[in-house]
């Protein structure tokens, strides 16, 4: 893939849930190694936009291209797409009946056909990356929320995705645990991982984002480098940032 080609591109994306228009012509692009942060009020369509990238929602109009996969195309190879994308959710969603290690090796073994031995080695590396190397054999319920979320990140990383999606991954955590998860994400960004994240952590957005997308009423209302958070061009973003979200 030429370096100029964006890893993720949304062009004129429209999406309605019944009569409710959630995405009303959304465009943005993420270059390799960049971090794009989507902010906006609840109901502005930011989570939906993120979920469309992984085809958890299908779109009504427009196109989405991720790592060369035409996501809007009904003939899309969904599993190939999802091998290139890692997604982490607000509610962690580790599998409760499996230990952390089993959670992590499940997909590499059953999807990519990696040997158990090799997958365990990858799991160890991924867990070291998120600072949980000593929790290998713990079950999710034995871990704190922050640890579970870091475990979920490690599980995605073990699939060696080309882009990571984070959907409000700290919203269910208290401030202390939020910090430890954000640190992991920061380290990933420093390693050059391409990322798209929806977050309410404005301070974090400011420090990590290469591009900020402010969504308002299903549209990209304002976009630019992280500096737009300090000097908003539109009254809506000014109000949103000022409200201290």
């Amino acid at each position: 893939m030429p370096t100029q080609e964006p890893i993720v591109a949304l062009r004129g994306v429209h999406k309605s849930f019944g009569a409710l228009k959630v995405l009303d012509g959304v465009d943005f692009e993420v270059q390799r190694g960049n971090v794009l942060v989507i902010i906006g009020r609840s109901g502005s369509g930011k989570s939906t936009a993120l979920r469309c990238i992984d085809r958890f929602e299908t779109i009504d109009q427009g196109e989405i291209v991720v790592c060369g996969h035409r996501v809007h195309d009904p003939r899309l190879n969904l599993r190939a797409l999802r091998q290139d994308i890692g997604i982490v959710f607000q509610s962690y969603n580790l599998f409760p009946h499996l230990t952390l290690e089993e959670n992590i090796i499940l997909a590499p073994c059953s999807v990519k056909g990696v040997s158990k031995k090799q997958a365990r080695e990858q799991a160890r590396l991924a867990l070291a990356q998120v600072g949980l190397e000593d929790k290998l054999h713990q079950y999710p319920e034995q871990l704190s929320g922050g640890q579970q979320q870091r475990g979920a990140i490690a599980r995605s990383l073990a699939m060696q995705p080309k882009v990571m999606l984070f959907d409000e991954v700290t919203s269910a955590l208290d401030p202390e645990l939020t910090g430890e998860v954000l640190k992991v994400i920061e380290a990933l960004a420093a390693d050059g991982m391409t990322m798209v994240m929806v977050t309410h952590e404005m301070g974090f957005a400011r420090s990590i984002a290469d591009t900020v997308v402010f969504m308002h009423r299903g549209k990209v209302h304002e976009t630019g480098p992280a500096s737009i958070l300090s000097a908003p061009a539109t009254p809506e973003l000014a109000q949103f940032v000022g409200a201290g979200f």
Partner: protein, 222 residues
């Protein structure tokens, strides 16, 4: 005829009780296999399969077990299939229990949080892999207490096999009563035996329920 209750009568009742247990196990295994198929059909991606299995469940749940027994034992021979009482009772209970367990287990599969499906999808697992490796192991934990509880219903329902001449506990009681004419005593003994079979199982079911039920993430955000 006449006489009083003796050891031979009690032996006969004991034999009946063993058949009740045997028939219950047949119903549990047969109905369990049928129920597993029904439950998977009920959550199938194919609308046709869902509708068909749903219709089966509705049909059986809307029909008394007694009538199903009559149909298999008296109905099938008119079509040229002769059926023994054991075969008729086993088949009827399998059909009946399958519908109920299928519906219970469908509920258990669907009560695994949607986010678990999504997490598995996000990891590129195929539908079959998601089902076998992620959803079913969690559904089984959820399903254990209600399934054990339903065993009690199965044991009690086997008494209906007496109408097709199968000599299980209830029927053996009837036979003894026909010779002794001591209905209060004999049916009281029968009731006690049924209770002794069912009570430990319903206790077990309650205990399983109390033991925290299914493991799942503690925080399930919207």
């Amino acid at each position: 005829m006449g006489g009083s209750l003796n050891a031979n009568h009690l032996m006969f009742l004991g034999q009946g009780a063993l058949w009740t247990i045997g028939l219950s196990l047949i119903a549990l295994i047969g109905g369990g296999l049928a129920g597993a198929v029904i439950a998977l059909c009920r959550v199938s991606p194919s609308r046709f399969v869902r509708l068909l299995s749903g219709a089966y469940v509705q049909l059986i749940q809307g029909t008394p077990l007694l009538v199903i027994m009559f149909l298999t034992y008296f109905g099938l021979p008119t079509l040229g299939f002769s059926v023994s009482p054991l075969a008729a009772a086993s088949a009827s209970l399998t059909v009946y229990v399958g519908a109920y367990l299928g519906e219970i287990w469908r509920g258990c599969i669907q009560s695994v949080p949607r986010q678990q499906w999504e997490a598995a999808e996000g990891l590129a697992l195929s539908r079959t892999q998601r089902m076998i490796k992620v959803i079913l192991p969690q559904a089984v934990r959820i399903a254990t207490p209600p399934t054990v509880g339903f065993m009690v219903q199965i044991i009690k329902n086997t008494s209906l096999a007496s109408v097709v001449g199968f000599v299980e506990l209830a029927r053996s009681g009837q036979i003894i009563n026909n010779s002794l004419f001591e209905p209060l005593l004999i049916y009281a003994i029968i009731a006690v035996i049924y209770f002794a079979l069912c009570f430990p199982i319903s206790r077990l079911s309650r205990k399983l329920e109390q033991r925290g039920g299914p493991a799942r993430p503690k925080i399930l955000a919207v």
